[in-house]
């Protein structure tokens, strides 16, 4: 029972390392792409991204083409800035419209891209100009009812 450093120590270290990696992967990266570099980044400014979460899907015609990489607040305009990681093999024309939609009635929010007709495609890091923020259903309904009353 002396502390001898040998094969067993090495195996022990290896096991701890393995376990640490497993924990790290689980906690930090969750959905880590084992092969990187297959996406490029686009950004977009929305008046509201209420309900959208990091990791939400980015879809074209209902087909997933990427996901939301980060959501931040523009400190000046107080609008919401999102960055999307779009799959390399999907080209996004520059006149694409991005809108925040809800899947079904009570589902998650996602970003829908409606590609335009332009033949110029956005490059990594560029910004989508035309955006539509999330719909404030509650607001609409109350507005609808109030207006009726008048």
């Amino acid at each position: 029972m002396k502390s001898r450093i040998g094969i067993e120590t090495l195996v022990g270290l290896f096991m701890i390392a393995g376990f640490a990696c497993a924990v790290y992967l689980t906690v930090k990266l969750g959905d880590v792409p084992l092969l990187a570099n297959q996406t490029y980044e686009l950004s977009a400014l929305f008046s509201s991204t209420s309900g959208l979460k990091k990791g939400a899907q980015v879809e074209i015609s209902g087909v997933k083409v990427g996901k939301v990489a980060s959501i931040g607040l523009d400190p000046v305009t107080y609008s919401s800035v999102i960055k999307m990681a779009v799959e390399q093999n999907v080209k996004i024309p520059e006149d694409t419209i991005a809108s925040i939609k809800t899947a079904g009635i009570i589902g998650d929010k996602y970003v829908e891209l409606k590609p335009g007709a332009s033949e110029t495609y956005l490059k990594s890091g560029e910004k989508i100009r035309d955006t539509e923020g999330s719909l404030d259903l509650e607001g609409l309904v109350s507005k609808y009812i109030f207006e009726k009353k008048e």
């Binding site: 067993e8 022990g12 689980t26």
Partner: protein, 258 residues
């Protein structure tokens, strides 16, 4: 103080490494010939066939409890029809593999640890060594193989009886629509769920045998105590450690595969 910490660290690392090497050796001995069928069949009988009764029982009652509680929860949302899906998903994904593993650990794992520990204590392992028989091959390889075979099968049994238990309570007693129960379940449980359950049960099989056997095998290095008390304490430790590891592992598998 620093030295003591260092010594302690090295000791812990060594303990861990020893156990790791134990696993490697066992797995190696599973691969190399000669293969013998009969010891494995015996172990399947012990780990698997002899656990069927408990598994059926726990499966049925787990399913019944799930059915009962699921019914009362879902009723609040007016969707009793989702009972089948709820029962099926919880069983196949989570409760099936985990409870099966816990029950088998309690039943067979403790017995494995006690058996190996008693063999260590009564010098049977030394006797094996002196007869130039490899204990990893002779003792542990059949256990690992048997567990790897039995766990998925037992989990399947558990899942199915659980589903039946939920059906009996939900459909027969509480009047949920039979069609909604079954079709809803078939629809919401997908291959990935079944697959995840199977993956889990395989991992749990390895964990269970690994921890229980190694706790028994390294009994003499453990300061737990001597004789019967040592064995009983090692058994307790093994069961606890296995159960905890199974739950931890369950968490990680769920998090990664979901």
């Amino acid at each position: 103080m620093v030295t003591a910490l260092g010594a302690w660290t090295i000791k812990q690392l060594n303990d861990l490494g020893r156990v790791g090497r134990f696993l490697l050796r066992c797995l190696f001995q599973i691969i190399v010939p000669p293969y013998k069928l009969w010891p494995m069949v015996q172990q399947i009988h012990f780990i698997g066939a002899a656990s069927v009764f408990v598994i059926l029982f726990t499966g049925t009652f787990t399913g019944m409890v799930l059915g009962l509680q699921g019914y009362y929860s879902l009723r609040q949302f007016g969707s009793e029809g989702a009972l089948g899906a709820a029962v099926g998903l919880s069983l196949v994904r989570e409760l099936g593999p985990v409870l099966t593993a816990l029950m088998v650990t309690g039943r067979a794992g403790s017995a494995i640890c006690a058996e190996v520990g008693i063999m260590r204590n009564t010098e049977q392992i030394d006797a094996l060594t002196c007869m130039a028989i490899n204990p990893y091959k002779f003792l542990f390889a059949p256990k690992f193989l048997a567990a790897i075979i039995c766990f998925p099968l037992l989990t399947s049994l558990f899942d199915v009886t659980g589903i039946v238990g939920g059906y009996v309570i939900g459909v027969k007693l509480l009047g949920v629509n039979a069609g909604a129960y079954l079709e809803g379940m078939y629809k919401s449980v997908v291959w990935e769920d079944v697959y995840m359950g199977m993956i889990k049960s395989l991992c749990f099989a390895v964990i269970m045998v690994w921890i229980c056997a190694s706790k028994g095998y390294y009994l003499h290095l453990n300061k737990a105590g001597f004789g019967a008390e040592g064995v009983s304490r090692a058994t307790t430790q093994a069961v606890v450690l296995s159960s905890v590891s199974i739950l931890v592992c369950d968490y990680f598998i769920t998090a990664i595969l979901l």
